[in-house]
């Protein structure tokens, strides 16, 4: 398990290897809470302008510019305002937030405090995925430490700024990573997504203005304030500022969490050199899913020799997306029908059931994959799968349906040979390879 920065100073990963990095003392010794003090001498607009200048984009997957999201909050609203940290990290292949929450909780608290100060927020929530329950104690302890040090609670650092923190866990639903479903769940309802508009920035938690940000997004904020937005942006590219964490898993020698500057060159080098190369030297790279399971899988020939840069624009150009940075490397031993079947089952299991296309579509797709896997594949199945994906994509209530469709479409379109193998050996059951 590697946790390191390549091509830049470790910023997010600064305290990963420091003993007791999760404690307030160590956090302060390493420059912690200085950004908060700096921010508290700035105006709201100055803070938001710095975040805008940093070109920080949401690290949860959608990549929405954070500064812009913050600026949507009506600061003159008489209602209370909230910042909710989305720590419902459940995109398959993504595990970066876990390390931040475990080893650097104060960075998140500081990031949220800066946001709260800028937006006039007095209550912050950190929504953990149910499976991260074991990490909550670390955060609760950190919040308590911060409270003792007058960093959380009333009159923070002697000012008239008050801010309270609460942690909360989901009950194990992927959909609660979607911001509106997260808010429903936080309010105590079933974790169903809500209609947008109104967007959470206007009507979010308890119908009050709410900013929902990913963990990594918020832990970037102290660095931005410390360095200055422009300087932070220049670590990366013009439109993708700063550094980004990548959760590398799959068939590489050194899986782990890597911090790369945005625009890192190039993807091939990253897989084959930085991550130690393919797990088994005699097996070739077959595919890579760079942004968590919901993005299009890339074929090796879209990566090798293609100078793919690792940033929002570079990956879109190369035919995929940054997503959450869940970087899954797949070698030639993998049958893409098998891996896609697995993902389809995931989406079916996690579909919340609210809307027709996602609920029924994923159920149907799983049944098709089951049949194919049992040897009942038919030549027309590929077309049927693509058509069903098309019927889900863009018609579902929330992006979960789109994500499911993309993952499956990507596999069917880009790895037709794997599907052919199953679909043309119709009926005799001979198509099953062990999995």
């Amino acid at each position: 398990m590697e946790i390191k920065a390549i091509g830049c100073e470790p910023l997010q990963l600064k305290r990963m290897h420091i003993e007791n990095g999760h404690t307030l003392d160590v956090y302060r010794q390493t420059g912690g809470y200085e950004s908060l003090k700096k921010a508290m001498n700035m105006t709201s607009d100055q803070i938001i302008d710095e975040v805008k200048a940093s070109a920080l984009r949401g690290r949860g997957g959608a990549g929405f510019p954070t500064g812009m999201k913050w600026s949507f909050v009506p600061r003159d609203s008489p209602k209370p305002k909230y910042i909710v940290c989305n720590a419902d990290e459940s995109e398959p292949g993504t595990f970066k937030d876990r390390y931040l929450l475990e080893r650097d909780p104060h960075a998140l608290i500081e990031g949220m405090l800066i946001g709260a100060f800028a937006l006039g927020v007095e209550t912050c929530y950190i929504y953990y995925r149910g499976e991260y329950k074991y990490l909550i104690e670390i955060m609760d302890r950190a919040i308590e430490e911060a409270r003792q040090a007058n960093l959380v609670g009333k009159n923070i650092l002697g000012s008239d700024f008050n801010c309270e923190f609460y942690t909360h866990t989901g009950a194990g639903a992927y959909i609660c990573g979607e911001e509106t479903a997260l808010l429903s769940s936080l309010e105590g309802f079933r974790g169903h997504p809500r209609m947008k508009p109104p967007f959470p920035a206007v009507e979010g938690l308890y119908a009050c203005p709410t900013v929902v940000n990913n963990v990594e997004t918020l832990t970037s904020v102290p660095q931005i304030i410390e360095m200055g937005g422009k300087e932070w942006q220049e670590l990366g590219t013009e439109k993708s500022g700063g550094t980004k964490l990548w959760s590398v898993s799959g068939h590489v020698k050194k899986p782990g969490v890597y911090e790369l500057p945005m625009g890192y060159h190039d993807m091939e080098k990253f897989i084959l050199e930085d991550c130690g190369g393919m797990l088994r030297d005699d097996k070739k790279l077959k595919a890579c899913i760079p942004g968590g399971s919901s993005v299009y899988a890339m074929r090796a020939d879209q990566i090798i020799g293609k100078n793919v840069t690792l940033d929002y624009e570079g990956l879109v150009e190369a035919g995929s997306m940054v997503g959450s940075g869940g970087f899954i490397v797949i070698d030639e031993t993998v049958d893409m029908v098998d891996s896609t079947k697995n993902l389809t089952e995931f989406y079916k299991h996690e579909s919340c059931g609210w809307c027709t296309p996602c609920r029924e579509g994923t159920d149907w797709l799983v049944k098709i994959f089951d049949r194919i896997w049992a040897g009942g594949g038919r030549p027309e199945d590929a077309q049927l799968i693509l058509d069903l994906c098309d019927n889900i994509e863009g018609k579902s209530f929330c992006p979960l349906g789109d994500a499911a469709a993309w993952a499956i479409q990507g596999a069917v379109k880009r790895f037709p040979e794997d599907f052919k193998k199953h679909l043309l050996q119709n009926g005799n059951g001979a198509g099953t390879s062990g999995s």
Partner: protein, 749 residues
């Protein structure tokens, strides 16, 4: 409220519409038509079925038109290849796990899913995987759930939450395993059945009607409910002179209640064709003898003879009778024998209210859009369920202020912006406090509340610019009613409206039809020959000692205590067998229509009375036509002047009778005597803190509801059976005790 008009283009045609209207409504109204399942006007938006997808220029994806509000210059396409593919795809998805057992489904023929698919006509089924199968289960004695037919539009959970405030059903599980279920696996709610009504498919099923007939075999007769004073419009489904089911009406074309009905209106129709109905006229020839079946001619002649012989006759009507019947009874009293007294049996007499009425009655629609609603006494949830639903929606969807004055907490009190919890039996003091501020302190002390509570309510009422609606229940005595009816004339807000929480389906009409009536006890005591249409209440019956009367004739459906004590019993037709009108608590006079022929030898009540009258030599000018009776009503009652049955044809546009308004009446006498009465209330009392269970009045077994077997189980604690696949009727005795094994096998076999 006049909304700004804007221009919207739909499929190339430009329309002027009100800004902010739901696009789906505009599309359907203008005749373009998009299918939808989850959209339901006035319920919270859902946008989950994804059927109503349309293309809107400048928007990236197809949009669900139910959540789009019209904005100026919007360009909408409702028909294109892309849209049809998307809509058909949703249909295909919905059918994927749908069992397609339409030939054995109770909804087959009136299923919305079926209709949408049939409208396309050429849907190819590509889904040939195994379907997710589940057994059909009972959720209560009255609601069954075939979950595999469910398309998860969640109309049911929304009406349960928003209309009923009960939250009895909710979705459970996730994804394609989502099911509509209950908490604890058994429905302990008021069993209104609105979830069944709004269900677009055969998922939620009417446990009374289940597997009785196919919908297209039923004759549908639009009529008015015979239970409470709300006067819901309903459709009686009958086949071959048998009533099989009752539903509300269509989702869009409907009466005052839309698709809303309560448990009684929807399910308690078993009495109509029940075997206990009186089949022929009965005569007791000698006191102490038995009631012996007879012919109509003999019974009429016998009764007429006895009435002629009597010294003083009396007539008692009940407020479940049609206007036609009560009017005929009044004429009977007036025209057959001099000095005949008459009365109406009801929970309370509305005369003092109507004599002092200073503002119009409010309609149910006005309740829904009111700004402030003050409910003094009553038990709206249990006794006027439609009114309760309108109040709830006004509060929930319209942000209305609800001031509830009651001695008992109820479901509605959780939603009240101000629940004034008074000492038992002291709600009248609140009327006094409103009418006479100088008595407010005394009234507050008697009610066991702070003076501030009264002031706060008064402030809310004074700040109200829109409709301010005052409702009151049977707790108000004559003086308090008179004062309440006069309240609007003391208030500067001109939008004050009144709503009496009357007891029965025709309480208001009966009150209109019989001016100058006396209390029931006086009529009974002062007469030696009585004609009673319907039955006396238990208290009235106990006090009346009918057996000691020289002669009593009763018109009834069943051999009730009153009928059993009579000397002549005439079999009367039920509401489903007669034509007529009821006047509800909105003041709407609505039609009751004959759905089936009278059972056995029954005749409509008004006809029985007029037959008896003609035997006594009085000619009312009508003998076989309810519409002629109604004309006679229109000629003799000012409020009904000029009305004819053709005016009452359309239940979507109910006609209001013109109750006379008295402004500036002097009610100081009533206020003074109310003050005296209130001052005699005890100073201290324990408040009732326990909230009665849901359905404590709705589930009560009465002469009528008791004929539907499910009511006995509900009244006896609604026990949850071990086996949810079998009707509880096979598993429990009417008293709620489990049936012995052999018995249930026999019954089930």
């Amino acid at each position: 409220m006049a909304e700004e008009l804007i221009k919207v283009t739909i499929d190339g045609q430009e329309f002027e519409v009100e800004k902010g209207r739901p696009l789906i409504d505009v599309i359907n109204e203008k005749g373009f038509g998009v299918p939808s399942f989850c959209y339901y006007a006035d319920l919270e938006l859902q946008a989950s079925c994804r059927m109503c997808l349309v293309r809107i220029e400048k928007m990236p994806k197809l949009q669900a038109s139910c959540v789009i509000r019209c904005t100026d210059g919007m360009e909408v396409t409702t028909k294109s290849e892309e849209i049809e593919k998307a809509q058909r795809a949703m249909g295909e998805f919905l059918l994927a796990n749908h069992p397609l057992d339409c030939p054995v489904c109770d909804r087959g023929g009136e299923c919305e899913l079926q209709e949408v698919i049939f409208d396309w006509g050429d849907v190819e089924e590509r889904f040939d995987e195994p379907k997710n199968a589940h057994p059909e289960k009972f959720l209560s004695p009255i609601v069954a759930n075939d979950q595999q037919r469910c398309i998860l539009c969640k109309r049911c959970t929304r009406v349960c939450h928003e209309w009923m405030g009960e939250d009895a059903i909710e979705a459970g599980n996730r994804g394609s395993n989502t099911v509509i279920g209950t908490y604890g696996g058994w429905l302990n709610c008021s069993q209104c059945g609105n979830c069944i009504e709004v269900c677009p498919t055969g998922t939620l099923l009417d446990g009374v009607y289940r597997h009785e007939t196919r919908p297209w075999e039923l004759d549908q007769t639009i009529t008015t409910c015979t239970y409470c004073s709300d006067g819901c419009q309903l459709s009686v489904g009958s086949r071959a002179d048998e009533v099989h089911r009752i539903v509300a009406r269509d989702r869009y074309v409907n009466g005052i209640n839309g698709e809303f009905l309560c448990i009684k209106g929807r399910f308690a129709h078993g009495f109509v064709n029940h075997g206990d109905r009186i089949k022929t006229p009965l005569i007791r020839y000698k006191k102490g003898g038995k009631l012996i079946p007879s012919t109509w001619d003999d019974a009429i002649a016998f009764a007429a003879e006895r009435i002629k012989e009597s010294k003083k006759a009396g007539v008692v009507a009940t407020s479940r009778l049609t206007n036609e019947t009560v009017h005929t009874l009044k004429r009977f009293a007036d025209e057959c024998r001099d000095g005949t007294s008459y009365a109406v049996s009801d929970t309370y007499d509305l005369a003092p209210f109507f004599e002092n009425l200073s503002a119009p009655l409010c309609t149910h629609k006005e309740i829904r859009f009111a700004e402030t609603i003050v409910v003094i006494g009553g038990d709206v949830d249990e006794e006027q369920p439609l009114t309760a639903k309108q109040i709830r929606q006004a509060v929930r969807n319209g942000g209305a202020n609800l001031i509830l004055v009651n001695d008992t907490p109820s479901r509605l009190s959780h939603q009240a912006s101000q629940f004034i919890h008074v000492n038992p039996g002291t709600v009248e003091a609140f009327v006094l406090a409103l009418a006479d501020p100088s008595a407010a302190d005394m009234a507050a002390a008697k009610m066991g509340i702070g003076r501030a509570e009264i002031d706060k309510a008064r402030e809310t009422a004074n700040a109200t610019k829109g409709d301010l609606i005052i409702m009151f229940g049977k707790e108000l005595g004559a003086e308090a009613q008179a004062v309440a009816a006069n309240l609007p004339s003391r208030h500067e807000n001109r939008n004050v409206k009144l709503h009496p929480l009357a007891g029965y389906c025709n309480s208001v009409g009966a009150s209109d039809m019989m001016p100058g009536r006396k209390p029931v006890a006086d009529v009974v005591a002062g007469s030696d020959a009585l004609l009673i249409a319907g039955s006396l209440s238990d208290e009235e019956f106990a006090a009346a000692d009918l057996a000691s009367k020289p002669f009593v004739a009763v018109q009834e459906l069943f051999l009730t205590d009153t009928a059993a004590a009579a000397d002549v019993v005439f079999p009367a037709a039920s509401f489903a067998e007669s034509d007529g009108t009821y006047t509800n608590n909105d003041g709407f006079v609505q039609r009751v229509r004959r759905a089936i022929d009278p059972v056995h030898q029954a005749k409509p009540d008004w006809m029985i009375t007029s037959l008896l009258a003609s035997e006594l030599g009085a000619d009312f000018g009508y003998s076989f036509s309810a519409s002629a009776v109604f004309r006679s009503i229109a000629e003799s009652h000012e409020a009904y002047e000029g009305l004819r049955y053709p005016d009452l044809k359309d239940e979507t546009r109910p006609v209001r009778v013109k109750h006379k308004l008295v402004s500036g009446a002097d009610v100081s006498g009533a206020v003074a005597s109310l003050r005296d009465r209130v001052s005699q209330f005890p100073d201290a009392a324990d408040k009732i803190t326990e909230e009665p269970r849901v359905g404590h009045k709705l589930h009560r077994v009465t002469t009528m509801t008791g004929k539907t077997p499910q009511f006995h189980l509900l009244a006896n604690g609604n026990p949850k059976p071990d086996d949810l696949l079998v009707s509880p009727l096979f598993q429990f005795n009417p008293d709620g005790s489990p049936k012995k094994e052999e018995e249930s096998e026999v019954a089930a076999g």
